[in-house]
């Protein structure tokens, strides 16, 4: 009994340490391999190394590495939260895990209906991945969501989901959806179909990136202001960055915390709404019934 408890505590501590490890790793990688920017430096993701693939060079960038770190962080956090989970026994973290799962289920059920109940793990994953990626800025790391390639990949994935669920209602339903409301508007519908992933990607990317750019500009401006106010003081006194203490944190509450979480929520929400709108349960069931009839006749 005593031994079991000790092993439980040990695993617990290990999982918690592994949860925090990706952040520490990210900071170490950033300090070791990313060259420090000078002054107002708004550059994209740093490229660590390039793999020479046969078709095209495959650069491994900061955004990729940071996304892997976020995935690891979430994996170990989920393991920690669900470690020693039992029916009936309510530890605090079990309550947390149950709350998250219940909320996600409720959200999916409210917005997509009971047919899409299996979607809640995906929606939860999108929500958590996006929010954690944006919140990486709090640790001074490069947020993967401020790279268009990352959010572009997610948006293309959503686009495939939309197309898949439209095709499940039958190819004729898919083709007919382009001829709404009148058939000569079909080119417009094709454009708006293609604009869906583009606008989703740009919305998320633009919001996070604008936060990063504004923070950088504000930092540079405060640096300049401090230098011009206190620069005449001799020695170390002139180099105290007294304006840069606290003021950027106020903006960071909006741009990093609020905007990051809000954009994650909106991305997940739009995923749900687009997929649910693409699918028509009546048409799907009519098609299934027709298939069953054909099978029973033959």
């Amino acid at each position: 009994m005593q031994n079991d408890l000790r092993r439980f505590r040990l695993t617990d501590g290990l999982l918690l340490a592994l949860t925090l490890l990706p952040i520490v790793c990210g900071m170490a990688i950033k300090i070791l391999f990313v060259p420090p920017g000078e002054g107002m430096d708004i550059a994209g993701a740093a490229i660590f190394f390039t793999i020479h693939a046969p078709l095209q060079e495959l650069p491994i960038t900061e955004s990729q590495v940071n996304s892997w770190l976020v995935v690891l962080l979430m994996l170990f956090f989920s393991l920690w939260v669900t470690h020693g989970i039992r029916t009936g026994v309510s530890t605090k973290r079990q309550l947390l895990a149950e709350w998250v799962v219940e909320k996600t289920d409720g959200l999916v059920n409210d917005n997509m209906g009971p047919f899409f109940a299996g979607f809640s793990p995906l929606v939860g994953a999108v929500l958590a991945l996006s929010a954690c990626s944006s919140l990486l800025t709090l640790f001074g790391l490069f947020p993967p969501t401020s790279d268009l390639n990352v959010v572009g990949g997610w948006a293309i994935f959503v686009f495939f989901l939309i197309t898949y669920y439209k095709l499940r209602c039958g190819p004729d339903y898919y083709l007919k959806s382009f001829a709404e409301p009148v058939s000569f508007l079909a080119p417009m519908n094709v454009i708006s179909e293609l604009a869906t992933p583009v606008s989703m990607a740009f919305r998320h990317f633009g919001n996070v990136l604008s936060g990063v750019v504004i923070s950088t500009i504000l930092g540079a401006a405060l640096q300049g202001l401090t230098a011009s106010l206190l620069g005449w003081l001799p020695g170390v006194l002139g180099q105290i960055p007294f304006l840069q203490i606290g003021i950027p944190a106020v903006l960071s509450i909006y741009f990093d915390l609020f905007s990051g979480c809000l954009q994650a929520f909106i991305f997940a929400m739009l995923t749900m709404l687009y997929v649910a709108n693409a699918f028509s349960l009546d048409v799907f069931q009519a098609r299934q019934n027709k298939k069953k009839k054909i099978q029973s006749v033959s």
């Binding site: 633009g206 604008s210 909106i266 739009l270």
Partner: protein, 94 residues
Amino acid sequence: MLELAIGIILGCCALGAGAAMIAGIGPGIGEGNAVAKACEAIGRQPESRGQVTTTMLMGCAVAETTGLYALIIALLLIFLAPGRFVNILMRTIG
């Protein structure tokens, strides 16, 4: 002469970026309207506050898209376009 040409390119890129951000007016007015209406709705029916807020945030995010397109155009004009244009200029001169 070359300096003048490059200067014109840089200046025009900066002007273009500034002009692109005029598009910020649209989402500003739109989101203001949305929030005003949401406030009215909450005032009329305080019990539906949660749902109104969620819907309003969604609507705001969608309305913001045009502004973000302008932002991306502006960023491209500042960071990407000058290098490209100067390269094109160099290539045409030879």
